[in-house]
Amino acid sequence: MAQDDRTAGGVMLAADGTPLKKSLDRALRAQKIRALALIAPLLIFILVSFVFPIGEMLLRSVQNTVGTDYIPDVLPNVVVELEEWDPASGEAPPEAVYRAMAIDFAIAFDNKLHTQLGRRFNYENPGMSSLFRKSGRPVTKLDPEGGNLKEAFLDIDKDWGRVDYWATIKANSGRYTINYFLAAFDAERTLDGIQLKSPDQRVYQKLLLRTLGLSLVITLCTLALGYPVAWLLADLPSRTSNLLLILVLLPFWTSLLVRTSAWKILLQEQGVINDIWIWLGFQDRLSLINNQLGVIIAMTHILLPFMVLPLYSVMKTIPPSYLRAAKSLGATNTVAFLRVYFPQTTPGIGAGGLLVFILAVGYFITPELVGGADGTFISNRIYYQFSASGNWGLAAALGTVMLLVVLVLYYIYDKLVGVDNVKLG
């Protein structure tokens, strides 16, 4: 080869005379570009219609807005004057602040923003909504050039003298705020700085723990029920196991709402299961729905296929001769299972368990319909903040926390299982 005329100065040349390395590089680059060109349309679609909207929504968790305007743009003069004032002094702000408020408030009133502003502050300090609503027209009648505006404000409502109200306004004088995240973690700003709320008011911590706790219980239930079924399917001759697999796949393909409504109908007080219970001779009807038990029963059923399928695909690859070998070497059934079979199924347990847990944490429909008061998940609270309460900033902050939890789990899933190994039937 060394004497070949396709070498020049020790460099291999391709047929057209270019160095081989360069020629291969060019071919590789062409391949990469072709692959990326095929992926690009979808990638752009996902970035525009999925990633970007979520990113924008998450930004709302730190944007300090009322409607579409930033608070410092709505109250420009107040924000400047409040810089001088220290809430720790324990005294209401000076006259200049009230004068600024009279100017800003009148403009906000003209733009019909003053009630929204009140509602916005009300999230952090209950009572401010009614103050802003009540003060609407009277404040616009004040003369910003006149004297003694502080007293005029206090005449309209003595709450205008409350230090904590002004402290809330001062705390919101930036374009960005961490207040929504404070609320999402049950903390609040007090005159002594940021503190956790009193234990009985820590609703979101409780909700996050409940969501994670119930998801864990559901994951364990799907594992307990899915493991024997997957084992049976993997051991049976493929003709029988393909038939039985349909019993797993049919629920998988059935509408989530059908399955949820089926459980709602079955579990209700006058439902089929309670009727059988009474027929069996029991006196009291069971309360199976609108509580945590109902959520666990229904969601275990709904997520069970996501556990069975990865377990089954792992168990199918375990040669049955391993167990026979263990037993012929003197292992009892239990030892053979624990030391030989079970360790080989752990990849399936990891894959199924993580998938079920990730899906369970974000569940909305089933907890909403069968969860009642104590079986709701964090998604339900986000939906409530979003639709009924209109506190989009808090909804976004709670969403960010939940998304972080899910993404961390997704990262672990990718490391352990690989996203390209997700099995669907």
């Binding site: 391949q31 072709r34 692959a35 990326l36 095929l38 992926i39 349309p41 979808l42 990638l43 679609f45 996902i46 219609s49 999925f50 970007f52 909207p53 979520i54 929504m57 709302r60 024997p228 084992w231 049976l232 051991d235 349909i246 019993l247 629920p251 393909w253 059935t254 509408s255 709402l257 059908v258 399955r259 409504s261 089926a262 709602k264 109908i265 079955l266 439902g271 089929v272 009727d275 059923h301 296929p305 026979r324 037993k327 059934n333 053979a336 990730i358 974000g362 909305f364 429909i365 319909l369 998604s379 986000i382 979003f386 969403g399 939940m402 998304l403 997704y410 996203v419 997700v422 669907l424």
Partner: protein, 288 residues
């Protein structure tokens, strides 16, 4: 070996064997019972959600098609039928977008040298992983900004994004068993890339593409959270109608709807299973 019974098994092994079988039988029952039980209940002639004594006696008077007639609007309420119509309009369009873009991307992803392959795959699968409430809330603001909130197109685009992971997963799975020497052979014999794709590659991966499409279809057909937030009264789909019905006052028409949807899913499952077997057969034919 707990699941097979040898002729020389001891009594203890026999007991364990049958206990295990019974246990698995109960779990299968738990899986399938809630889905099957709505079918007979939907023929109830009363507005009850449980079996009436007449039904248990198999008295013909206990059964009727009343709930199905209500579904088709015989009581003058066409909302179910309209919702069904909307679902039937939205799902195929969303499926077309997911399948078109998804198949191309899956082919790109299975090429030998793809930069950032892992990251791109993770990103494309993420719509399946990210909680729906977050996706829909984000889309609500985004579509409101560009004037698509509450429009038909908005819901279709949102559903297309949700269906993409399923297309990617099924099509890449099919492509991983695809013998690339076939395309090289076709090119060698003078076929241009388009001809190679449509005459050689496409027929072989078609089962996977159709399965992915059916997954995308059922994802859109079954989706409610996005419709709740991104849609408006004009895009009430069947799941939307069911969700609202279940949350407020539950009407027995839901039983009929559920039965119809179970029939749809049985049909889809059968198709997917047949496609899967066909795909395995085709793959068995090509040299590996």
């Amino acid at each position: 070996m707990a699941t097979t019974l040898q002729p020389y098994a001891t009594t203890g092994q026999r007991i364990w064997f049958y206990t295990f079988r019974v246990l698995c039988g109960l779990i299968f029952f738990y899986l399938i019972f809630p889905i099957l039980v709505v079918i007979p209940l939907s023929f109830n002639s009363q507005d009850f959600f449980t079996f009436t004594p007449e039904m248990l006696r198999l008295d013909p008077d206990g059964f009727s098609l009343k709930h199905y007639r209500d579904f088709f609007g015989e009581n003058g309420d066409y909302s179910w039928l309209q919702a069904f119509g909307n679902s039937i309009k939205i799902a195929p369009l969303a499926t077309l977008i997911s399948v078109g873009l998804g198949t191309l991307a899956a082919i790109g992803l299975t090429q030998p040298h793809v930069p950032f392959k892992r990251q791109i795959t993770a990103l494309l699968i993420s719509p399946m992983i990210v909680p729906l409430i977050i996706t829909s809330a984000g889309m609500f603001f985004f579509y409101a900004n560009i004037g698509l909130q509450g429009t038909f197109l908005g819901v279709v685009l949102a559903h297309a994004a949700l269906g993409i992971p399923f297309v990617i997963i099924t099509v890449t799975a099919t492509l991983s068993g695809f013998d690339t020497s076939l395309t090289r052979a076709a090119a060698n014999m003078g076929a241009d890339p388009l001809t190679t794709f449509f005459r050689v590659q496409m027929p072989l991966i078609l089962p996977g593409v159709i399965s992915g499409g059916l997954f995308a279809f059922i994802t859109s057909f079954d989706e409610v959270v996005v419709v709740l937030l991104v849609g408006s009264a004009g895009q009430k789909t069947l799941p939307w109608q069911m969700f609202i019905g279940l949350r407020e006052q539950i009407s027995p028409t839901i039983l009929a709807v559920a039965t119809i949807l179970v029939a749809v899913s049985i049909g889809l499952l059968t198709t997917v299973e047949m496609l899967r077997r066909r795909s395995e057969r085709l793959r068995g034919m090509s040299p590996s």
